[in-house]
Symmetry: D2
Subunit: 379 residues, 4 copies
């Protein structure tokens, strides 16, 4: 009897980050994959994931629509509440042996609450890290509901143990997001196909911007965007700019992006919603500098050696490699840091976040580990 492993994906980025894990579960002789897609990634406007997931060979998938219009933080709470209710039904019907939840977006709380309250063993991927934002609270709360942890770094493991998690339930497997990054890194032939980005001319040197709202600093969202866009404008370098995650504050950023698009007529900036995981990593691999507050700068970019300018509090405290320069939301500071990174060029690859085998390791552990829902803090 195969163990049924139910993985709940709540955002496009999370899918990319566990894709190798999904493949490893699907192809494991002792495991059966139950894939649930929920939240923003069901919606076309946020880069609907359904088609991509089917193309990648995952079928069937279970869909749970639960995203409320997100103009205010009430919506985040209600989306999560709705997620708990609906995932409880999914779990009641498909009866997983283990539920896997990924990272620290607020919606991950849905799967964590539903599984733990229903006495289903809960596995958490990417726990034990540190950042700012509501993610910080969510990540550690999910760890406290989880029965087993698959962490990216040695210090993440130490942190979970310090928090009172039982050491034998905390596995340092590396992060599955690195598995894919290593494949892209090692494939000399692969280069990002600029032609696929319509309306943007080919460029030998370009930068990438990924800027998400900090939900706990909502009053500053507009100012933060202005500092950033002023810096990028002043740099006069071809730029791929990804629109934000659908979090509280995203609507404001999108409005500012639109306003900027209409008034500046800056042809050097190309706004993107998303790419498929492989194209995305190729874009990051070859870019001269990645700027913003996405965890991609900390995580995949460290493996790819991409220079990163990380801005503000969102990634504050997250362990990083030498490829990252940290600055505040200040135009001049951003410009200076980017110039420094352009001068430096690419960095050596770091395996801080994994050595490329996380997906397989986690799948093996899911197949073999002892299942339990009873745990107690160690002190």
């Amino acid at each position: 009897m195969k163990r049924k492993i139910c993985v709940v994906i709540t955002a496009r980025a999370s899918y990319s980050r566990v894709k190798t894990l999904l493949i490893a579960i699907k192809s494991h002789p002792s495991l059966c994959l139950q894939l649930v897609i929920t939240g923003s990634c069901l919606l076309e406007k946020y880069g609907g994931l359904t088609k991509l997931v089917n193309q990648d060979g995952f079928d069937p998938i279970i869909k749970v629509s639960n995203l409320l219009e997100n103009e205010n933080p009430t919506a985040a709470a209600k989306t999560t509440g709705l997620g708990v209710i609906e995932l409880a039904s999914v779990f009641e019907n498909v009866r997983p042996d283990v539920v896997v939840t990924v990272a620290d977006r607020y919606e991950t709380m849905s799967a964590a609450v539903a599984a733990s309250f229903m006495n289903i063993p809960l596995a958490h991927v990417q726990g034990g890290e540190v950042t700012g934002n509501i993610d910080e609270k969510v990540r550690h709360a999910v760890s406290k509901l989880a029965d087993v942890h698959f962490v990216a770094t040695a210090s993440a493991r130490n942190r979970l143990i310090a928090m009172g998690e039982v050491p034998e339930n905390v596995w340092h497997t590396g992060c599955p997001s690195i598995d894919l990054a290593i494949q892209i890194k090692n494939d000399a032939a692969m280069r990002f196909d600029y032609e696929s980005c319509q309306s943007f001319s080919s460029a030998s040197k370009y930068i990438v911007v990924m800027h998400h709202p900090v939900t706990t600093e909502h009053g500053f969202t507009k100012d933060q965007f202005c500092s950033l866009v002023n810096a990028i404008s002043a740099l006069h370098i071809p730029t791929f700019w990804f629109t934000p995650n659908p979090d509280y504050g995203a609507a404001q950023i999108l409005k500012e992006i639109q306003r900027y698009g209409e008034t500046s007529k800056n042809l050097k900036i190309h706004f993107l919603r998303n790419l498929n995981p492989e194209s995305f990593l190729k874009l990051i691999k070859h870019c001269a500098c990645l700027i913003g507050n996405s965890s991609t700068g900390i995580r995949e970019a460290s493996l790819l050696g991409t220079p990163v300018v990380n801005i503000g509090s969102r990634q504050q405290g997250r362990e990083r490699s030498f490829n990252v320069i940290d600055v505040d939301f200040d135009s001049n500071a951003i410009i200076e840091a980017v110039q420094n990174q352009l001068d430096h060029g690419h960095y050596d690859s770091s395996i801080l976040y994994g050595n490329g085998d996380a997906g397989n390791q986690i799948a093996d552990l899911l197949a073999k580990m002892k299942l339990s829902v009873n745990k107690q803090i160690t002190y």
Copy 2:
């Protein structure tokens, strides 16, 4: 402008335990109380709290009905999801400055998720303790979502700090449940009025049983009940037996209680649903031994000096005074432990869980403390 303090009560027992805090908030010159009643305590069959709360002078109260029929653990998850959704609406409409959530029942997660996701400072009462059951997971997860902690014991404070909470946000105030217990303890005149318990004759010596299901040990619920009821029957002492909380497994216990009631015709056992907080404490104060797995045995009973036989894993790890003997669900072991306690008689009072001023201390801190929703693990 008074600070608006929204306290969310999810169970009858929680009300008793924070009653002195509610009074302290209500009468504080800088605070305004917003009282929300939700979960089982809205229902008559679980001892409907509405009337009692109104009698105690709290008015208006906001009611949130969210309890699903609880035959299975799916219901606990859905009740909580519904709670998140509805409390988000309540918070959006009454706009509290602080939300207070109490202890570790699964429904407390509703208030914790809704408040933290909406960037409302969250205060948690009774964090940092250790037990078994799903409560253990819930308690620590809520602590990770909370911005400020009011704890009952010094070791609870140390534990939260070890878990990475910022020390200046962890206040050792004692538990407000002890405030009421001290009033009862000090009032020599007050004695439990047996007459108010119809159909049960007055008794000079009686025992009390409080036995709740352990949701994570569901397969053993019936066996555990049988061990207990056999022991109690064999003791032949007048017994007040409280029916369980409406958790997963309670339906099974209630069925067994009914079956026992019908077949045994044991006139020495009187089954009770609940009492008002003061009568309840008087009953505990004067009883010869409190038996079961309720935290009352650990908490209020330590102050009152009542001998306790604590059974099984539910309170495992919770700090206790010398008034408690721990045994497994084994009839002979239970009988022997009760006999030992009867032989010993009452214990000296312990202030392990507080010195009687917790309600006032917490209200003062709520009025004065710096409010923030940004926190980060300390290591």
Copy 3:
């Protein structure tokens, strides 16, 4: 490509009533059955349907737990709202070609709203009838959301057409509940096995009581019960009494039943929760008189020729055969009516509600009919 027919069952009684339809859909070469079980019939305490449905060969079933504790009418609304949300997810995942909803219990509104709002053709069984209670509103509102109607009687068809439904979408197929009743009626060999009712002695003559709360007359629930129980007590005839549906008011009736059971020690009354559909119909077929306000008295009993005393407003206006005497909730009136029915004995069978082929007829129509979600009132 088979048409996918999704039937949503919300109560135990509804299952019995469409069982022949479910069999007909399952065995139809052009149809594929998607069976959803929701509401009270998922819970053991209301006679959990899951086991029975599996025994009957229906597998898989989709389960949707949505029943809130039903002490007040808020619970009925919230249960229905939760049903809409969860059925929307079910429909999104299983993509039915037609959704079938049955009769007029309040929860049927869930399936009707979810399907019609999602542009899925909605078929309604048992529309066009008239009663009292909230059922009256629900039934006609569901008809207004439905695209096709399968009705039990000629006057139900006329009524729907008078209400503005397009005549060619209103099919007079008879009621599938009669299909099963005819099988029982024609099987001379089958007799209710009294032995299976433990603690009740065999009886040559017995009556059956089915009494449900009238949710819109809540203030009178206790009085109504008293009138009824007094009459039944006075009759001194062995009685099978079915406990009520889990509607608003049921808790009160259950409390009165328990009180009566404890105080009266009336050994002639045996309280039952439910039987399987076939045993139930055998019990009704052979009973001397069926008393109460259940539609069974109007519907199946007319085919079986069972004498019926129908009480109060709940079935007011529903078309009936000559086997029914109507009275108010008045003890003397009830006694007199029962005596008259006992004197009269069994009636001739009536085919007012169908001739036994409804299940097959409806399945054929579901396979062949033109599907559309556009309709307009005819005047």
Copy 4:
């Protein structure tokens, strides 16, 4: 003791249409207004109503956020289910004597189900009319749940009576939307202030477009938009074009509008999200032709005498005055009809939908009418 009248507003347009009723209730000596704002009108992107409502002197208002991201019809169902749940809580807390629901948008079903299931008398404004779209089903279903009806036209009253509603519960008061329109019509001084529409130059002659998706014809949304935009482009007349309601299909129209805006550079079309009710009516009063499928063309425009070209099935069957020409979604047909209307010029005012006193009449009836939740179809 004043009767508490709870009015539930689910969309910006509904607010305009019952504004005079809200004023009448608020100022009525025997009534107390409880105003609930829910659905799209809470969101800024759909023209957030909160500020406007407060400016109009309504305070406090109760807010219920329930709008899911609306890319698919699943969202409409879930939004409605969430509305039922949350409105049930609101009604439980504010205990209205009557709930008033308006018109036929899908979300009105929320208030109708919650109120009727909770035994609260339900009043429906604008029932008995005929259209296409899901509105047609919703409107009649709500009528079947409602206890009292305030209708706009004599034939709407006749239709409800034909549907089996009790005649004395169906009041022909006219539509409160006409009350405001008459005020605007009679005020010679008031003229729409073009200056307030930034980026659009003053114009002596202009047309207005209001085009909403037909949720039941989703496959044709893009084609319908193209027919319409081609016709409007060809007309070369200054145009105010209102963006659609947030229904299923709106996202597609918004995308087409954006694409058109970017590619056509047509400076004659000004896209608007919304205006306050008075400015909106002034805009309609003075426009040369109103084009699209909004009920404004049928309702307010008939009173204002504005020439209307109504397109497609959305208003099919709704009673109309002589100011309306109906055409299909065909560019040439639209152009020809608009030309005919421009040639004709303004029409005489019609009082088909009311004589300007509906708000007061309805408030008086709400104060005096007998309250009941028991009704039965009349045949």
